[in-house]
């Protein structure tokens, strides 16, 4: 059965899933474009894995709709997964079989009739050919992770869903994974990458969804995220304690911290900065320096994910 070529690799609307009444996923919408590496970012317990399980048809959503290349993975499971592969959490393989035998077995479940050359090519891509005859029980976690990726590749997927793929990998393994995902993306494979590691997503993805408490807090490009997520300033004044007190009292100034006699704070809107400088001048506090800070994505991430609730997601 063929997939609809014009349909987006992932389209999800209003996904909800609750466990014992507690929402794990609470109204998630996703649209992933062909060929991109899409980051699905959030802290542990944010609902990333539950969302991915729903996408792969492992668990049923309580509400909402999913389409993979235009097909419903819960109603038309075989067709929807025809060009889709994924790993949820760490790859689980048959430890009593060799790596190569695992791939042959899993490839047989794909009903695609792939030959041994496809299996060898996948082993080559993940650099496991030398150890492919060994039992998986003798593999390190990093090797299992790579074999899991190879098990996905033998399906020749157009969409690859990877849940925290860098877990358990050493720096060399992470570098290898990044190279592999870029290669796949260059070949037109869409990658949906979930992670709680900002650096990993930052390295690979242009577009991200940041999820927290089961809801999307931001959806769009990383550049726009940096631009939209508010501004921070660093203030140096002749009377630091008074300046700090004035900052704390000024509306629109938040997230105050002091480092090396410099006061750092976030500003919501231009009016707040104006009010602050006026208050400082009225109090005879001399501003020695007031410089905008280059926001790190990490800080934006924490600002978004540590909000008590996400009523209005930021959309780029």
């Amino acid at each position: 059965m063929s997939v609809a070529p014009s349909a987006p690799p992932i389209e999800a609307h209003g996904l909800r899933k609750a466990y014992r009444g507690r929402p794990a996923v609470d109204g998630i919408d996703l649209l992933v474009r062909p060929g991109e590496i899409y980051g699905f970012l959030g802290p542990n317990g944010a609902g990333k894995t539950t969302t991915m399980r729903m996408l792969l048809g492992l668990i049923r959503p309580d509400a909402g709709a999913i389409r993979l290349f235009g097909r419903d993975p819960h109603g038309d499971e075989r067709a929807a997964r025809a060009r889709v592969a994924g790993i949820i959490e760490e790859p689980r393989l048959y430890t009593y079989l060799s790596g190569r035998r695992n791939l042959k077995l899993l490839a047989s479940y794909d009903r695609a009739g792939v030959g041994p050359e496809v299996i060898e090519e996948a082993l080559e891509m993940v650099e496991l050919r030398d150890r492919a005859g060994d039992r998986v029980s003798d593999y390190s976690q990093g090797m299992r992770q790579r074999l899991g990726v190879a098990a996905c590749l033998v399906r020749r997927p157009q969409l690859l869903l990877l849940d925290e793929p860098a877990n358990g990998l050493d720096p060399a393994g992470i570098r290898f994974l990044r190279r592999l995902l870029r290669d796949l993306s260059a070949r037109g494979v869409t990658v949906f990458l979930s992670s709680h590691l900002l650096a990993e997503v930052q390295e690979l993805c242009e577009r991200v969804a940041i999820v927290t408490a089961g809801r999307i807090a931001y959806e769009g490009s990383l550049d726009e995220l940096r631009a939209r997520a508010g501004r921070r300033y660093r203030l140096t004044a002749d009377d630091r304690p008074r300046a700090e007190a004035i900052c704390a009292m000024t509306d629109g100034i938040s997230d105050l911290s002091v480092s090396h006699e410099q006061i750092e704070f976030a500003v919501a809107g231009d009016g707040a900065l104006l009010r602050l400088t006026r208050s400082l001048a009225e109090a005879d506090v001399v501003i020695q320096a007031l410089v905008p800070e280059q926001l790190t994505l990490e800080r934006v991430f924490f600002e978004l994910t540590e909000r008590p609730s996400v009523e209005d997601p930021v959309m780029a």
């Binding site: 049923r60 499971e77 997964r81 949820i88 959490e89 048959y94 899993l106 009903r111 399906r155």
Partner: protein, 269 residues
């Protein structure tokens, strides 16, 4: 659908054949009759219908062992594999790996069920071959006196042995179906394996309640002795027919229930 079931069946059969537990079952099926034969040789021939033949012919030896192990032998062999067949994959996390491939859940579960039935059929066949060869070596390939006291030729008796084993296998498959159901529903090997054995024991317990005598012919455990019909003169056939439909009646509801649960249940681990 059939193509998917065949793919699932081949994969599941391969996995079963490569596991130590499966070969333990085969070893039990092969060694059990030899151990019993050695006991018989040291203690002298036993008494009772069919068993009286031991000492004169080895043709009916497989059925003598079957009478001895009646419920618990096949229940244990079936439970060990059936109870594990889904639960172990769920516990190991490999179930989610398989479910992200191109098989539907229905195809996968039917494939597992057929692989399990194949394993049981092979175990029974192995048991039959080993016990028949061992019996013939010990007591010869001679005519046999059936339950009604009539003498039947060795070749004829051998044919009846084969049919009897097939009939005996039917309720064993029904017990295994219940094991698969427990494996799907509990998702844990120990309760599924233990529950299957308890199920077989409970059925045996019900069969021992004399006030339920009217229901006895329709109990699963009673079908384990339906093959007696073949060794009576005249041969009836009614017991065999009943064994077929009673076994099916006991097997189908747990299979259907297992399919429903397996298709609906979230795979979250």
């Amino acid at each position: 659908m059939i193509g998917g079931v065949w793919v699932a069946y081949r994969g599941e059969a391969f996995k079963l054949l490569i596991q130590r537990r499966t070969w333990l079952g085969f070893a039990t099926a092969a060694i059990g009759p030899i151990v019993y034969l050695l006991l018989e040789l040291t203690q002298g021939p036993p008494h009772g219908p069919l068993t009286n033949n031991l000492g004169h012919t080895g043709v009916g030896f497989a059925l003598v062992v079957v009478k001895l192990i009646a419920v618990f032998g096949p229940a244990v062999i079936a439970a060990l594999v059936a109870g594990d067949i889904v639960a172990a994959e769920r516990a190991d996390g490999t179930l989610k790996t398989v479910l992200t491939r191109s098989l539907s859940r229905t195809e996968l579960l039917i494939g597992k069920l057929l692989a399990l039935f194949t394993y049981l059929a092979l175990a029974m066949a192995l048991f039959f071959v080993v016990s028949t060869i061992a019996g013939i070596i010990a007591w010869g390939f001679n005519p046999l006196v059936n339950i009604s006291g009539y003498r039947i030729s060795a070749l004829h008796a051998l044919g009846l042995d084969i049919v009897s084993l097939l009939v005996y296998t039917l309720p064993v498959l029904a017990i295994a179906s219940f094991g698969v159901f427990l494996s799907v529903v509990t998702g844990q090997s120990v309760p599924a394996v233990g529950g299957t054995i308890i199920y077989a024991m409970a059925l045996q317990g019900v069969a021992a309640i004399s006030s339920l005598q009217a229901a006895h012919p329709y109990l699963l455990t009673n079908q384990l002795t339906a093959w007696h019909d073949l060794f009576q003169t005249p041969t009836g056939g009614a017991l065999i027919v009943r064994a077929i439909w009673v076994s099916a009646a006991f097997a189908l509801p747990p299979i259907v229930a297992a399919l429903v649960v397996f298709n609906r249940r979230d795979v979250a681990s």
